[in-house]
């Protein structure tokens, strides 16, 4: 799985950048082991995030001297944050020197000493103090039996970590840098490397340093007021598996069906964030009514409509819709996280709204939750019981505000995609996919004529029919076969569009216009001077009600639409090239 972290060498290279224009944060770093590279990593990570960490790094193993000496460099530096890193590698050596009664009181003793460090610092400065906790090493002296022995290191180090959490609850400016959890996530063998330890007294491996730096950054940013307040969810293949518009209420994967477990667990997590006070919004390319249905009807959905502060499902671009959500919530884009399985949508949102956080979700939905947890997106520096009640206020606000469309430079974006489309008559390779689209597509489907494999094969061999399949790719990837058209002669000179079906994944890219041009080219080549299309309304294809009208067809009544092969097309740039 891809990690969220930048490698150390890049952080170190950042140190050469000019910081003068950036916001300065004054930090003192005290450690009981060698901290030069840790300092470089934290500083470099700050630069990555456009923050200038001005760091005073105390000499090796000087925590007590710096804190208890009122004339120390620590106090002269006047830090806003004091970072204290203490290691289990040092702690265990101290522990081994004690006799049994002192071992039994060890965690309490270190916790009391920690409280004294904190109180001394806060008496002399206004700084926030961030203590690392301890790696929960099993030193192998008692094995698993250590749990029964109060004088074991295993028992004492776990107790100490708990006592440190208690201290952080007692003291307002006492924060914990939860290194123990980070190590649990990455593994001790990843976080600790004997060579830097033996040769340079470093307790974090080079590859682990960026994790510590990011975690430290997250804490400082949250305390400084920069944190995420809202998560915006895509629906199809993000909140549930499958496509509600095509698969229907019974077909989407949530709960016991298919990969449903993965989506259910993601929903449980999002709901927990909602209870903590994170606003949850929905932004989906869907018909509103269809998109809401699972939230109301599906027995295994965890998220319900009353969890969602703003619900936006329509066919506008996600950039416009997220702007709309932002105008209702009235929070910064930098406080928003957007989750979408589709890399095209993610890229479009990132380009349109640079400040928003858009995680690169793994391909496999089963990995979504694991991946999101390790990103630590929702670091916070406060929590109150009332936070959970926020959703309702926003729901009311959403009712009052109407969608104000703010068109972005969509053309520029589309042009940047280098879209290429392969167009060809049906063949043995494409027929199975075409039959599948024919069976499954409900939304972008003008007449909803269903064809089986055998019927598609027969059509492709028929002299009276003309077929076109469309496979699209852009610089981000291959979408495969996403549309097909079946044409046949209706009366002399007129070509009839029997089927025009497209996957909704590629809406809003000019595929419709591109497809029409191909249809007209076929018509001209075969000597037709008119093309007729028909729209047969169903419960699910409201999306294409205006399809022919918007392409410049004239209304022939009875849901029939005509266009002359020689007539000029509507002015609209196309950014798809024929492969």
């Amino acid at each position: 799985m891809n990690t969220p972290v930048i490698e150390f060498n890049r952080l170190k290279k950042n140190l050469k950048k000019d910081l003068s224009s950036q916001k300065e944060v004054r930090i003192a770093l005290l450690a009981d082991t060698a901290s030069q590279m840790l300092t470089q990593a934290i500083k470099g990570y700050g630069i990555e995030q456009h923050v200038h960490y001005n760091i005073f790094e105390a000499d090796y193993n000087q925590i007590e001297r710096q804190v208890f000496d009122p004339a120390s460099e620590l106090y002269a530096f006047a830090p806003q944050f004091v970072l204290i890193f203490r290691s289990s590698e040092k702690l265990v050596k101290e522990f081994y020197k004690k006799d049994v009664p002192a071992k039994e009181a060890f965690a309490s003793h270190i916790a009391a000493h920690t409280a004294q460090l904190y109180e001394t610092i806060t008496e002399r400065t206004g700084a926030k103090v961030i203590f690392s906790n301890y790696t929960e090493i099993n030193d192998g002296v008692f094995g698993n039996y250590a749990s029964k022995v109060k004088s074991s290191f295993v028992y004492q180090v776990k107790k100490l970590n708990l006592l440190l959490m208690d201290l952080s609850q007692s003291y307002k400016n006492f924060f914990l840098n939860d290194i123990a959890s980070l190590i649990q996530q990455t593994g001790y063998h990843f976080s600790f490397d004997v060579k830097p330890y033996i040769n340079a007294e470093m307790v974090y491996s080079i590859d682990f340093l960026p994790y510590v730096a990011k975690n430290t950054y997250d804490i400082i940013a949250a305390i400084s007021g920069s944190f995420k307040k809202c998560v915006i969810l895509d629906l199809d293949n993000t909140t549930w598996g499958g496509i509600i518009g095509d698969d229907g209420l019974e077909g989407i994967q949530v709960g016991s069906l298919g990969l449903g477990k993965a989506f259910t667990e993601l929903q449980l997590w999002v709901k927990e964030l909602r209870k903590r006070g994170v606003i949850v919004a929905v932004c989906s390319k869907n018909t509103d009514e269809i998109a809401r249905e699972p939230f109301i009807q599906h027995p295994e959905m965890v998220l319900r409509l009353d969890d969602i502060a703003v619900f936006v499902a329509n066919w506008e671009t996600k950039v416009d819709n997220i702007r709309h959500i932002q105008s209702i919530l009235n929070i910064g884009f930098d406080a928003m996280v957007f989750l979408d399985d589709n890399s095209f949508e993610r890229e479009m949102v990132k380009q349109g709204i640079p400040d928003i956080t858009v995680p690169e979700l793994p391909e496999d939905p089963s990995e979504y939750l694991l991946y999101l947890r390790q990103l630590n997106l929702f670091e916070t520096a406060s929590f109150t019981e009332e936070d959970g009640a926020r959703t309702q206020q926003y729901q009311e606000e959403a009712m009052r505000t109407t969608l104000q469309k703010s068109f972005t430079s969509e053309n520029d974006f589309l042009e940047s995609l280098d879209m290429e489309c392969e167009v060809k008559a049906f063949d043995a390779f494409t027929i199975p996919r075409i039959a599948q689209l024919s069976q499954r597509s409900n939304q972008f489907n003008l007449r909803t004529v269903r064809y089986t494999d055998a019927e598609v094969t027969a059509t492709s061999a028929s002299e009276a029919h003309h077929t076109l399949s469309f496979s699209l790719r852009d610089k981000y990837g291959d979408y495969g076969l996403i549309a097909y058209v079946i044409l046949h002669e209706q009366e002399a000179g007129t070509l009839f569009i029997d089927s025009w079906v497209m996957s909704c994944r590629v809406l809003k890219r000019g595929m419709e216009r591109f497809t029409l041009e191909r249809i007209l080219a076929v018509a001209k080549e075969k000597g037709f001077n008119r093309v007729t299309g028909e729209y047969i309304p169903t419960k699910k294809n409201g999306l294409v009600r205006e399809h022919y009208a918007s392409l410049g067809f004239s209304d022939g009544g009875n849901n029939l639409w005509h266009i002359d092969t020689g007539s000029p097309l509507t002015e609209q740039p196309i950014f798809i090239t024929v492969k």
């Binding site: 060498n9 050469k16 590279m37 060579k195 040769n199 080079i206």
Partner: protein, 80 residues
């Protein structure tokens, strides 16, 4: 020049880790010859060399290194 290929690869690693494109290593190069090569970046170099050659050195081996040529000897030993 027995280690020509190796020196070229090591030069690439040193340039990247020490962020200095003017570095050119010979077997006789020592930390005294390169300003950025200090005790801290040395650790980083060792780890980068280990990753590049997909091998691990013992602390004993590392402590014997006095010049780049010594690194080459260790790497060759691992490869054979």
């Amino acid at each position: 020049m027995a280690y020509e290929q190796l020196l070229e690869e090591l030069t690439g690693i040193f340039r990247d880790v020490l962020d200095n494109d003017s570095i050119v290593l010979t077997e006789e190069t020592t930390a005294n010859d390169i300003e950025e090569w200090d005790s801290i970046s040395h650790i980083q170099l060792v780890v980068a060399v280990e990753k590049h050659f997909k091998t691990k050195f013992s602390n004993g081996e590392i402590q014997k290194w006095r010049k780049v040529g010594d690194m080459c000897v260790s790497i060759e030993e691992k490869k054979s």
